[in-house]
Subunit: 377 residues, 2 copies
């Protein structure tokens, strides 16, 4: 069945997406309150707090130099400045443990969201089946549906154990047997903070090879690993052309305001992504690209300190949730927690509105991540 | 007939698009040379020269303030900062002569290319007919085709007279009679620099009203009007919901490196554009948005000086082309010229490569603008 553009845009509802809270009317939320508005200042958990953490050293200076450089940096190739791609390819190869081609296999994008959009657009055609983890980053499902693809859900039992993400590998195999030729997943998982174990990554790679599946690996938080955690890069386990990996300096580095992403790996996919970027936004903002020079080049100990600070926040919040008897996976990485709520006397969206109005806490509803619309997390 | 993604990406060839010249191998171009390489430095006409013209005063300072402001400016709503939209709506209403809703009818995008992409994606469905001027901005055709639309060409006889753009209104009517319900055009026309006369805009508006056609008006260069030129805004001639207008600070203001665009007008179209932006790039880079505060707020006389300098370049180049007997429309606005070449002993693309290699002049081939592939301009 072919979707019309009305269907496609209806599926793109953004009313409850992170960052859009300011556009929601408070409505009659006051009538649902039990007790008074709680004291304290507003806390927004829907996105990273670049005020709490200073940006990577030198980032603003690199931007300022790019403005001074002028046209050379304002009008880069669509896939981004060749110099900057050359620097990045070396760093990303070292980080992921597999070669990266600066010339053929790297593209700079407006944020990792830009990279995800271009990658999905390059690979998903009307009617294509795509395996998507439940729960996973809220845009994955929407992207596949926008391009006419069919989401084949694969469960992740993220509460079952903590040394693995808990991906249901039988369901993944069944998705591939049913015809899915693309697997899109975030690792660390957004929103649970689960990291896929080496065994799980090896099993995914083996299934992908057997079924000729292409992988889009969203590794946005793969630098923000908490103490003792081990990370396995799937691109080092499959032929280069089978995987496109997406990263970017964002919340971890407090650089989200520059909107920078990078996709690397498969040359044919990067080629398509660049063609589409040429009509979608031309390029990642030229001056902003220069900020990537600071990435993976932070001073010694800087990232370790940043991780320690994030881990302290995680531990404090986990303590609060556990005291309140809300089952919550211990995030192994990233800056999210995904608590499970008990039965509520009101619906999920009303609860979220009350949380904002009465407790001054902004969160993203669990339904955004692809679970049943009545459950919170 | 339904296009596969292979067809769609094949139609997106960017090899000869502006800015991609650095990715072209010189090949055996030397064998085609008559005479030697000419002396002089490289001149690149494929994009604006932000080195020759300094950016609008205060732009970098506004950016720096936004970085200091932190999260508030890093994470704006997807349609862009409410404060900045409020300022812009007033300025754009004054400029175009019709009201602009900051809240419902304005969206900030990554460049005007981002705005064009979102607008076309919001309005074009598989099989939809779209009227497109020939010649016009190179991406228009590609955008329509990427979303499965069918381009219905409408001729512009831009060499016929200079007080009008020369749009063939009979062909436009025929396109609407044939079922086109969207008309996408740039005014001033890119690449010829032609401005549509008041009579032409009135006629387009009348036809659009009669056939219930929606208009995407790309007005990127509508501030850069040469001496004595008059400009008519089509959005002031039609009901608000029928028109989406696209502008941005770019070559005119030497701000291209910040990648900023704004689309304004029809609230339902802006609503869709925001939904798509949420999965395409989230938002125009947060810090960059602040640069829009300088736009339409330049010091008195600043824009007039800028226009005078551009006009001097236009006149000098027109002199060169006329001396060489190359018929060229006198651009009324914008920073492009579109000379027509005589019969050549070699193909268009070889000529362009020779021009680059032998004369050190980079230009964009006329075929990119939708004319027959063998003609230059």
């Amino acid at each position: 069945m072919m979707l019309t553009k009305n269907d496609r845009f209806a599926a793109l509802a953004t009313d409850n997406a992170p960052g859009q809270e300011v556009r929601q009317a408070a409505g009659d939320v006051g009538n649902m309150m039990r007790g008074e508005v709680l004291p304290g200042r507003l806390v927004d958990f829907s996105h990273g707090d670049v005020d709490a953490f200073s940006p990577a050293p030198g980032s603003f200076e690199r931007f300022a130099e790019a403005v001074d450089a002028g046209a050379r940096q304002a009008y880069t190739e669509y896939r981004g400045s060749a110099d900057i791609r050359a620097e990045l390819a070396i760093k990303l190869a070292a980080f992921t443990g597999a070669p990266v081609s600066a010339e053929q296999g790297t593209i700079l994008t407006p944020g990792t969201q830009g990279a995800l959009f271009l990658a999905v657009a390059s690979l998903v055609d009307q009617g294509d089946k795509v395996a998507i983890v439940q729960p996973d980053y809220f845009a994955n499902r929407k992207l596949v549906q926008f391009f006419g693809g069919e989401v084949v859900p694969v469960a992740m039992n993220y509460m079952a154990r903590t040394a693995e993400a808990g991906l249901d590998l039988d369901q993944l195999r069944a998705a591939f047997e049913a015809g899915a030729r693309l697997f899109l997943f975030s690792n660390p998982n957004n929103p649970t903070g689960a990291i896929y174990s080496e065994r799980e990554i090896a099993a995914i790679a083996e299934l992908a090879a057997a079924f000729h599946v292409t992988i889009i690996a969203d590794q946005l938080y793969s630098r923000l690993l908490y103490e003792g955690e081990i990370y396995t890069h799937i691109r080092a386990r499959l032929p280069e052309e089978r995987v496109i990996t997406i990263m970017g300096p964002s919340k971890t580095e407090s650089l989200s305001g520059y909107r920078l992403g990078v996709a690397f790996g498969s040359a044919p996919i990067v080629e398509r992504m660049e063609k589409l970027q040429a009509i979608a936004s031309l390029r990642a903002a030229g001056y902003n690209q220069a900020v990537l020079r600071t990435w993976f080049s932070e001073p010694v100990g800087w990232m370790e300190d940043r991780i320690r600070l994030h881990q302290a926040i995680r531990d404090e919040l986990l303590g609060v949730f556990r005291e309140a008897a809300l089952p919550t996976r211990t995030a192994q990485a990233g800056s999210y927690l995904f608590p499970r709520l008990p039965e509520l006397a009101l619906g999920q969206h009303d609860f979220i509105r009350l949380l904002r109005h009465q407790a001054k806490v902004i969160v993203t509803p669990g339904s955004e991540f692809g679970r049943t619309p009545t459950a919170f997390g």
